[in-house]
């Protein structure tokens, strides 16, 4: 864990690493889109280099946005720390499956940046971040990402439904609306069309089912009964109280 004196330097280093990794990732994605078919050995022998290149650019842009926010904002405590770590680590891990060897360098840099954030975070940072509802909504964000990914893989109308459904779920989750029933209804509307159009795949109906269950748990009143309470703190307190 960093000392108060070393923290600013370390935070700057994390910002530089994250920005460099994300920028290199975008460049790698552009290379895949431009000349992927000519260098298949370097891009993991993938069939759809264009789609995977674009997916890499999109995910790297997400990491870059997190890196820029980290550098600009003076406050790097609480939820921001694990949030930034996740925003760097998820693209870093996912893109190891998209563009092969081209991702080795940017992916490693992003993972180092994410790991540095996590190692230098306090327990309080996580306690503030880990709230049951936030966790469930985080899982929904990931499921929305699966929809975008599979939608990009599928073609035609079904693919468009997948991408639109995933983006729509992200949009719903970006706004912590007070109308939670309405949020759940929109999540259900986003989840079902792609699952119905590709019911035979077995995968999308499973993801849609998870979206509905997690969406109901996160958004419908009285489903979780854990809102607003730090999950780790709450759990630890509960479990340590004896008779």
């Amino acid at each position: 864990m960093s000392t108060p004196d070393s923290a600013p330097t370390l935070n700057r280093l994390i910002g530089v690493l994250a920005t460099a990794g994300a920028t290199l990732g975008i460049i790698a994605g552009l290379v895949d889109v431009a000349v992927g078919p000519s260098i298949r050995g370097w891009v993991g022998n993938k069939l759809n280099t264009s789609i995977l290149g674009i997916a890499t650019i999109a995910l790297s842009t997400l990491a870059l946005a997190a890196a820029i926010a980290w550098q600009r904002n003076g406050s790097r405590v609480g939820l921001r720390r694990p949030g930034t770590a996740v925003a760097l680590a998820v693209p870093a891990i996912l893109c190891f499956t998209t563009i092969g060897r081209l991702w080795y360098l940017p992916g490693s840099i992003l993972l180092i940046a994410a790991a540095t954030i996590l190692v230098n975070s306090t327990r309080e940072d996580f306690e503030g971040a880990m709230n049951a509802r936030r966790w469930l909504r985080g899982l929904l964000v990931i499921l929305g990402g699966f929809y975008v990914f599979l939608g990009a893989d599928a073609l035609g109308l079904a693919g468009a439904l997948g991408i639109a459904g995933g983006l729509c779920i992200w949009a719903v989750l970006a706004h912590d609306s007070a109308l939670r029933r309405a949020s759940f209804a929109v999540i259900a509307l986003c989840a079902l069309p792609f699952a119905i159009a590709t019911w035979w795949s077995a995968v999308t109906p499973l993801i849609a089912l998870l979206m509905l269950v997690l969406g109901a748990s996160a958004e419908l009143p009285g489903r979780t009964n854990l809102d607003g309470r730090g999950l780790i703190r709450h759990g630890r307190r509960s479990l340590t109280r004896g008779p």
Partner: protein, 415 residues
């Protein structure tokens, strides 16, 4: 005091329920269940991610897409003699091995057997390879007419060189897109279930007439319940015998492409998509790890039994005087392709059933007791003729048997 001996009265909480001895127990249990639920949810999301990646990696959403299937979409986009090859490569052939190569010049197309693509012990005497070449030649001739060529066919034009299967000389002619030609991109081997619906004799007669100009070929139909059961039982027995022959089993499985990358790389072979399974079953099979040879064998026998033989409306057997003769094999292959194309244009489906002849040739190769040779001989009533190939036909119960098979492009097979 007696009061000290009595148990204390239970306390009542403000909601009217009984309070527990340990007030935090309910909270603790809720917290535990909440955390367990979140952990399970997280694990399920991770599992769904794994399945999603597997679906992507195995092309679950890409059925019939990619370079391995371009040949079906681009089959009539070229002009000149290469257009004939584009049609020829979509023909029926054993195990989708595509054992052909072509040499193209402005006034001639030569067809060669690519023996490196032989399917081994499954076709030990090259019967199916040359039947497949005959089917390919038929498509080539149909395309020649459609592209305005007057084509003249010479089978085995180079004496002593059976690899040179055919030469097709091209001269300017009148373009005519026949009905069979139009069906070339729609012809698929159907391994799915057929409807319980008889094929009318009139329809069978039309198919029989397709071979009137082909010398030394005869077509026999088995349509009665007794006949289809007899032929079906023989096919099942042959399938079982084939799986017990290790070399045949190994060579049979060698042409099965289990993963999407292999399909896109090789552009040949048998795939899960072409097995006539439902969309859901096919997707699940792709998500699961590849199965063993033994399991594949068992499943193939099972599928031969049901639905393939159980739902066959009729069997057709093409016979020639000498099935060992490459020329007769190719002529028989031309008739087989014509029938297959005709079924595609007339609402019927066709599945190739070569189990019996694969065992017949294996018996001949190894000098085994002629079990299937004797049985196959009894299927053909005319003396002097022997079974070359067999197939089942019927009305399809679904579109499950109409998915594309991977194909190498015309450019890849032209020498």
């Amino acid at each position: 005091m007696s009061a000290t001996l009595s148990p204390p009265p239970p306390s009542v909480n403000p909601q009217g329920g009984l309070a527990t001895d340990r007030p935090d127990e309910g909270t603790s249990r809720r917290a535990f269940l909440g955390r367990a639920g979140l952990t399970a949810g997280t694990a399920l999301v991770l599992g769904a991610g794994g399945l999603g990646y597997r679906a992507y990696d195995e092309g679950v959403f890409q059925t019939g897409q990619g370079g391995a299937y371009d040949a079906w979409r681009d089959w009539d986009k070229q002009r000149g003699p290469i257009a004939l090859v584009s049609a020829a490569i979509l023909a029926a052939n054993p195990h989708n091995s595509q054992a052909w190569a072509f040499r193209v010049s402005p006034d001639r197309v030569d067809v060669y057997a690519d023996r490196a693509r032989h399917i081994g012990a499954v076709d030990p005497l090259y019967r199916e390879m040359y039947v497949g070449l005959g089917a390919s030649i038929e498509n080539l001739l149909l395309a020649a007419r459609a592209n305005g060529y007057d084509a003249r066919l010479s089978l085995l034009p180079s004496p002593g060189e059976p690899v040179h299967a055919a030469r097709v000389d091209l001269a300017p002619g009148t373009a005519h897109r026949g009905s069979l030609y139009e069906q070339i991109p729609h012809r698929h081997t159907d391994r799915s279930a057929f409807l319980a619906q008889r094929v009318p004799n009139r329809v069978l007669a039309e198919m029989t007439a397709l071979g009137e100009d082909l010398p030394d070929t005869r077509l026999y139909w088995f349509t009665s319940r007794a006949d289809t059961q007899r032929v079906g039982a023989l096919m099942i027995a042959a399938a079982e015998a084939l799986t017990k022959d290790r070399e045949q089993s190994v060579d049979d499985n060698r042409w099965f492409r289990h993963d999407w990358d292999a399909i896109q790389s090789h552009k040949d072979g048998l795939t899960l998509d072409s097995q006539g399974l439902s969309e859901l079953t096919t997707a699940i099979a792709k998500l699961l790890p590849a199965t063993s040879r033994t399991y594949n064998d068992e499943y193939w026998v099972k599928r031969t039994r049901d639905p393939q033989t159980r739902t066959a409306a009729a069997y057709g057997v093409i016979a020639v005087p000498n099935p060992a003769d490459h020329r007769q094999r190719m002529v028989g292959g031309r008739l087989l392709e014509r029938i297959h194309l005709w079924t595609a244009g007339n609402g019927l489906s066709l599945g190739h059933m070569n189990q019996i002849t694969e065992r017949v040739d294996r018996e001949r190769q190894l000098g085994l007791s002629p079990v299937f040779q004797t049985a196959a001989r009894q299927l053909v009533p005319d003396k002097g003729y022997e079974q070359l190939v067999a197939f089942r036909i019927g009305y399809p119960a679904s579109n499950d048997g109409r998915r594309l098979s991977p194909r190498r492009t015309a450019a890849a097979v032209v020498a």
